[in-house]
């Protein structure tokens, strides 16, 4: 088994003139929960999409479980579960139908399929809603259904793009408990987030800003690297160091989201 399940070196992606990812090098240890933190437009989704085979990198290297993203993305897809930033299951299919659909697409069939679906429904805590149309579920339930669909083929790697955006704090906690359970089963988890408390819960984090990694390490390492009280301090420091005043306002956004989250639900 590789020590690092995902490795990238100087990975870049531009859309015309927009440079979305500007030389990202990552090493994600097998079995860890790895967080990518950064404000809107930092390039988190773009990075993740390149790893999942949704986008072709402009340059640089990237591999997942030793498989090259340029040439072996179809093989990567069998080992990787992905949950996109926006809900992208079929809203006009029921919970059960969505699960059956993805199970069959991944080649899980017959008795095994029904057994697997039963397990996932129990794990995700969506029992009782099996025959409800996915589009009529509330945010937290949708998220857990999407997680269920992403896990249907027992992937080694789970890639979650802002899974808790737009979900209330209680549902957020429930979701993170699930993530811990999955990590305990040995699944490597790559997750992006806006939230500091979620970043704090990761084994390692990379702070991405304007397509670059500004800081990387365990939360404790990052805090210990200077005179910092908490992670938020760390990132304010790095942003100021790198880009100064101008970008400070966009960093405020993270603070704002953080406070809002602590204060109540949506």
């Amino acid at each position: 088994m590789n020590a690092y399940l995902i490795e990238t070196a100087d990975l870049r992606k531009s859309f015309g003139k927009v440079i979305a990812v500007d030389g990202i090098s990552l090493k994600i240890p097998t079995g860890s929960i790895y967080g990518i933190l950064g404000p809107n437009g930092a390039g988190k989704s773009t990075t993740i999409r390149m790893l999942c085979g949704l986008l072709t990198p402009s340059s640089g290297k990237a591999s997942v479980d030793g498989l090259d993203v340029y040439t072996q993305s179809e093989k990567i897809k069998q080992r990787l579960g992905y949950m996109s930033q926006s809900f992208s299951l079929y809203e006009d299919l029921t919970v059960l139908e969505n699960l059956r659909f993805y199970a069959t697409i991944y080649g899980v069939r017959g008795k095994e399929r029904e057994e697997r679906i039963r397990q996932l429904i129990a794990m995700a805590g969506i029992t009782g809603r099996e025959r409800q149309l996915a589009g009529t579920l509330s945010g937290g339930w949708k998220q857990r259904l999407a997680l269920g669909c992403a896990l249907i083929h027992k992937p080694q790697i789970l890639v979650l793009d802002e899974p808790t955006a737009g979900v209330d704090p209680v549902a957020r906690r429930v979701f993170w408990e699930l993530i811990y359970k999955l990590a305990n089963q040995g699944i490597t988890i790559l997750i992006t987030t806006h939230y500091m408390d979620e970043a704090q819960s990761c084994d390692r984090i990379a702070f991405v800003f304007t397509g670059k990694i500004l800081a990387e390490g365990t939360p404790a390492e990052l805090i210990a690297s200077g005179e910092f009280k908490n992670l938020e301090d760390v990132f304010i420091h790095y942003v100021e160091e790198t880009t100064g005043q101008k970008v400070k306002s966009s960093f405020e956004e993270i603070k704002f989201l953080h406070k809002q989250d602590g204060g109540g639900s949506q």
Binding site: R49, Q78, S84, S86, Y90, D92, L93, T104, I105
Partner: protein, 368 residues
Amino acid sequence: MNFSRFGIIIWKEFKHIYRDPVSLRLVILMPLIFTLLFGYAITTDVEHIELAVYDGDKSYESRELIRKFAASNYFSFEQMVDDSDQLEALLDAGEIKAAIMIPDGYGKKLKRGEVPESLLIIDGTDPTIARTALQSGNLIANVYNMKTISGSAFQVSEMKTRVWYNPNLESTKFIIPGLIGLIMQNITVMLTAFALVREKEKGTIEQLIVTPLRPVELILGKLVPYILIGSIDFLIALFFGTWYFKVPIHGNIFLLLGLGFIFVISALAIGMLISAVTKNQLQSMQLAFITILPTVLLSGFMFPRDGMPLVIYWIGNLFPMTYFLEILRGIILKGVGMEYLWKDVLGIALIGVLLLSIAIKKFHKSLD
């Protein structure tokens, strides 16, 4: 190709259609409404062209000529005028579409066995009406003159004509089969034009791309439910077109249904290709229009293809509808079978396979 993945795509697509009752109803109503609406609108048989007459002769013969015109279905006699200027005024005002001037001496000439002159004036602003008026006017006048003269020594050589397949030259007979083809093409192209694009717009494609699903499974799987719907639409259009407008099917109806099925697949392939290469519904709508519009003119639906410049003729060969029109007219009007139609069937099938292959190739499993 993995058949369980292919199968589950079909199943999913059926669910989408089934859960969207509005578009399901539309899909069934469209062929019905279009066939009736267009069937009425596009008949070019012109009847009761308003006619005024200036009779400068006032003989028995001239009155007889006017009576012949008035008795025909093509003209409706509106009024007699006292001088030719009045005819001009009526034509200018659009109150009449045709006028006859009979000069002094018309009757005398006719009695002497000469072919007398008379003038038929036609409002040519609408060429369709004008052509009908001209032909039928000539016919009426000639027949009358000949009949009257032939009693004398004057010998007229008469050419016998006979029109096959559609002896009364009724335009509905010609137009309805073509119309069925046109309607079928428009409906089917639209059915699939949004098939993939909808997933791109809703973002559901993102989750599909990260699975091992292959483009061929996705595209063919999405095609299957629409083949069924398209075939039902064809049955509806064919039934209403032929039954309601009383156009009998002379050939083998089962052959027609079978070939219609092949056409549906081929036309659906056009929509699928559109869907594969566009990013959103607006784009695919525009592309669908750009594709459908020329077929109306180039497929032989409106104008005979024989007279077209070679380049245009060849462009017409690219549309499945061009071949399908031959099939529809061949089977419905002429009653011919495969021995005459196999080339058209081959054309449709080849184009369908080609379009689908391009769609599968062009549909990249990526968001780039």
